[in-house]
Symmetry: C2
Subunit: 698 residues, 2 copies
Amino acid sequence: MEEEKRPILQFAPFQSVVDEGFWHRLSSLKLNELGIDDSPIPISGFYAPCSHPQVSNHLTLLSESLPSEASEKSSTSHGNRNRCWVPGTLYNTNTLETYHGLDKQALLKAEAKKIWDDIHSGKAVEDSTLLSRFLLISYADLKKWSFHYWFAFPALVLEPAATLNDIKPASQWFSSKEAESLSAACNEWRQMTATADVPFFLVSVKSDSSVSLRPLKDWELCDGDGQQVFVVGFYDPCHLPNNPGWPLRNLLALIAARWNINKVRFLCYRENRGFADLGLSLVGEALVSVPTGWRDHDCVPTAVGWELNRSKKGSRCISLAKTMDPTRLVVTAADLNLKLMRWRALPSLDLNVLFSVKCLLLGAGTLGCQVARMLMAWGVRKITLVDNGRVAVSNPLRQSLYTLDDCLNGGEYKAIAAVKSLKQIFPAVEAEAVVMSIPMPGHPISSQEEESVLNDCRRLHDLIDSHDVVFLLTDTRESRWLPTVLCATSNKITITAALGFDSFLVMRHGAGPFSLSINMSNLSLSENKGKHRLGCYFCNDVVAPIDSTANRTLDQQCTVTRPGLAPIASALAVELLVGILHHPNGAYAEAEHANVSLSASYERPLGILPHQIRGSLPQFSQITLVGHSSKSCTACSETVVSEYRNRGMEFVLQAINHPTYLEDLTGLTELMKSANTFDLDWDKDGDAIDDEDEFVEI
Amino acid sequence: MEEEKRPILQFAPFQSVVDEGFWHRLSSLKLNELGIDDSPIPISGFYAPCSHPQVSNHLTLLSESLPSEASEKSSTSHGNRNRCWVPGTLYNTNTLETYHGLDKQALLKAEAKKIWDDIHSGKAVEDSTLLSRFLLISYADLKKWSFHYWFAFPALVLEPAATLNDIKPASQWFSSKEAESLSAACNEWRQMTATADVPFFLVSVKSDSSVSLRPLKDWELCDGDGQQVFVVGFYDPCHLPNNPGWPLRNLLALIAARWNINKVRFLCYRENRGFADLGLSLVGEALVSVPTGWRDHDCVPTAVGWELNRSKKGSRCISLAKTMDPTRLVVTAADLNLKLMRWRALPSLDLNVLFSVKCLLLGAGTLGCQVARMLMAWGVRKITLVDNGRVAVSNPLRQSLYTLDDCLNGGEYKAIAAVKSLKQIFPAVEAEAVVMSIPMPGHPISSQEEESVLNDCRRLHDLIDSHDVVFLLTDTRESRWLPTVLCATSNKITITAALGFDSFLVMRHGAGPFSLSINMSNLSLSENKGKHRLGCYFCNDVVAPIDSTANRTLDQQCTVTRPGLAPIASALAVELLVGILHHPNGAYAEAEHANVSLSASYERPLGILPHQIRGSLPQFSQITLVGHSSKSCTACSETVVSEYRNRGMEFVLQAINHPTYLEDLTGLTELMKSANTFDLDWDKDGDAIDDEDEFVEI
């Protein structure tokens, strides 16, 4: 009779609180591991008994809420006394449309069914953490660092709703002796590792006023034990003086459905400074009737629980871009484009190789600037630029790292200006500038200059030694000679880009002449011996590099080229490097031609790894070709490398001062009498680019 | 007897004074007209009687000293009273080595021989300006704006040297009456146009103390007229109280060689404030003996005259870079690379077309940034960038006009940041930013948005109308639709660049469907009618452009591409434009394939003009192909363009709001039943890029 006047028992819902770390971890997980896989992910939420009115009803997600990444070894604990674990499920969609199109009713019902099943099976009695669950749907826009999301905290709905007989502070409900005992029992429960994060329990009050806390399953063991008064307790995240928090809902459902009790006394356990506070904690008595449908096991009760956003149902969105540390934001943004490649197009892309490879760029002109940009875009972060020139006023239009500011007061050194510019583009780049000249053969020097030139030689040697990759991008043919010798000696990946007026050459040098004996163990290719070594930039030449800058008219000095060439050649040079770095044989890889069978290219999704690429703007054409190493090469032949190894700087000095020395040494002087000595394979007939084009860098 | 004690007559040499304007004019002449032609050039020097001790012995070169450029119409006058003309010869070499290697003795001798011949022939008596000549050798380093140069003022050497009997101020030599008359005669001579710049003359002193000035040739007419005392006079640039200036040397040589006089009285005519000053002017008496060899006409007397540099013989060097107006310096530097192309490689390059063409870039992303850079490098100066986005932190690594500073505070608008960046590279660029969205078909809008979207349509229409070239570089297929319709309607040069993951497409759209009737008069190609019109970006599609951004995963949204693609595609897009602008038929040019015969490509040194270029990074390949226009094209077909012409904005709105409208209109809906309807010619078999690649911009 009175029932109708009794108030409905009302619960304060959970409020989601998501730490930024969660979103960062999610972003990282999505980018690095999940890719386009959008299967649901088990995640963890945390809550604790309320201990401060300002932190009420929080269900918190932290970075640990997500599965740890494969690369990390930390074991995730389910929780502790201040982070009681709530199992959750994350549905992170790939698109905003999918997110908005999710069937939220069905998802909630599926989650509620887990709770329902656990109640029926008794699992929820064994492990009461299963009584609270949550659901998170999200769409992570990693491009903008914004996250659309919506939480649900599924609660099984009692129909008719439970009503409230009474609710008051626990300190008023219990006698002072009981209260004292209860406090002690609670504090103990909260201190024991085994129980600290178990959010549901029984409060057993004996007639001697002693109170103990026991696990839920004890109800079923001790059912009917008349000596005890049982109260069901739960960690209440709520601070309100007249309402329990959300977890009680599913507990009542369990009690009604499983234990068939109509009058339930409950303890809303709350704390102050980490200890039980029975003044804040509530005890209430609810009247519950079991909905008729519940008798049927297949029935899943109605569930509610989608979180409100400013009192209305609604998705939330958070943007982290503004609060992120700018450098970190840039780094993650930079990685985004690369990591996205791995999702679908290029799963085998090895970003760690790119992140760690050390590249030395000789020349910071049109090619050097563009190559540096391309390297950064590919994720390369260790870049050293060598140049002795200063930025001139005609440079910025073609040399893409400079502006007019760099030309003031005589011009900044190009290497320094380039590094400054790279950092303005990507602050995490580890770029270094080296202002020095590259000694050149056939440019005789005076004895006063000798020490300084030899210092440059040694410095160049050290630079090449300490890098993995060397790009030859200087502005004369002869300035590529010493680097080529040094690279052949220390067997570095070496890439040359050179421009004619309207055609270009991009090539990788073959491994050094003494590399095979040392490195053959890495190779399965038995035929890769000596004669098949790929050539270097000088292998096709019948004259040694000499002073090519002398006596050149202005249009020859400025090495006039069509503006489109340098960006194309630079891009291909870097793509070629990425190919080498991903080839199992690296610098030792044999040359591949275009038109290779598709199946082979599927094995290496980056595509073929040619030796040389030549392109022609007038023909809008591009071909790959192979040139093997020449025994008379003035830069990479055994003779030359041996001489360098044996005589070092003395040899270099001789080459610098005596224009014919290299030709004499390598036998080129004799070879010049018979011209057709090259082993040059073209990969198609006809339309070869004029070989007499002089390729130089600008 | 006394002769040996008499002092040698010593002359103050000319000092060269070169106005910066001379070097600017020379640079311009070299770049624009001379190219590698290094033939000697007749030039003019100027001097005047000394009128200030600080301006002594100057021989001045001004911009007028050089021949006027063909493009200018100004007639060069030989001089005036303050700029008495001295004929000179410029040897401007192409290289520093040639400059240093010039045979200076021989050059000087050649110039001296001209003077000697003019003395012997009597020409120098008729026209006394021929007695002074000069010689300038130079090397203009137009890259650094520095000029190496050396002057010579050839003087025939009397052997033995002339000696001086006496020298004193003219005011002391002449009686006061004579002096008064002389002053008047000099002032009159200097005022008459016919004589003002005649630097050598006779002073005739009659017995009545009247003095007159007469031309040199009068000597030979009046030889032996006992009534007159003759003094030879010359405009003396020197201010020294005891020495005549340089011009007297060749005058004495003339007198000795031609008139056979041993005792010569000379007047060093000097001025003060523009009038004769006989206190500064000197009269001297020199004893001259004719060298024996001079009797022989074939003998050329020894000559001296290479200018000293700080008391030593030596070449001089001036750098103008520091004093030039920075913007002018930048503009000239920018032009340098382009103008040098015309010297040898590309004489037919039409820079005026490039300087004046107006380019509209739709999209300021990876492609837009790079295309703008390439355009500037080719000399294009009128660039408008359209984009509605802001610079995001992930952009600078691939979008080459932005740095991190552009990402602060939510990011600058891309169009605005790009324009700022272009100006930092080249301040003379006329770049404009337009922040607006491009309306897209199949993206239905609400009626509230309608007015704003239609405004965007009209604005886009006006933008396209006011430009010559439109680049389609936006980030979705459907945002290229309306610009394609508008370009086809107003018949603009239209270039599309689009990227897949590792392949790209660059193409020019065919002329509009109604262009042929209007423009056929320009064309000689009779077969170019309707059916052969080249296709547009949409001609190969069997579906109308619709919303492609909806429901795309992150890697699809970011349109992940290999970093090397965009620079290559952008470079080719701009090279393609340069080709169109240089083709006699422009946008109407037929498509050409690679492998065209070499003779044809020599006719147009820029090379072939293809319709489409497709490139593949995995294959390092590039092919050209042709696709003709489709009658069912949703963008450039007659049907669509007619609808736009007739219904304007109403038509656009229908396309925006009704995804199937365009397909219905063009008959595509029906066509989709039969698939192979395209007229697509590949220029080679095999290795075609997968047509199903979705090309999009990033």
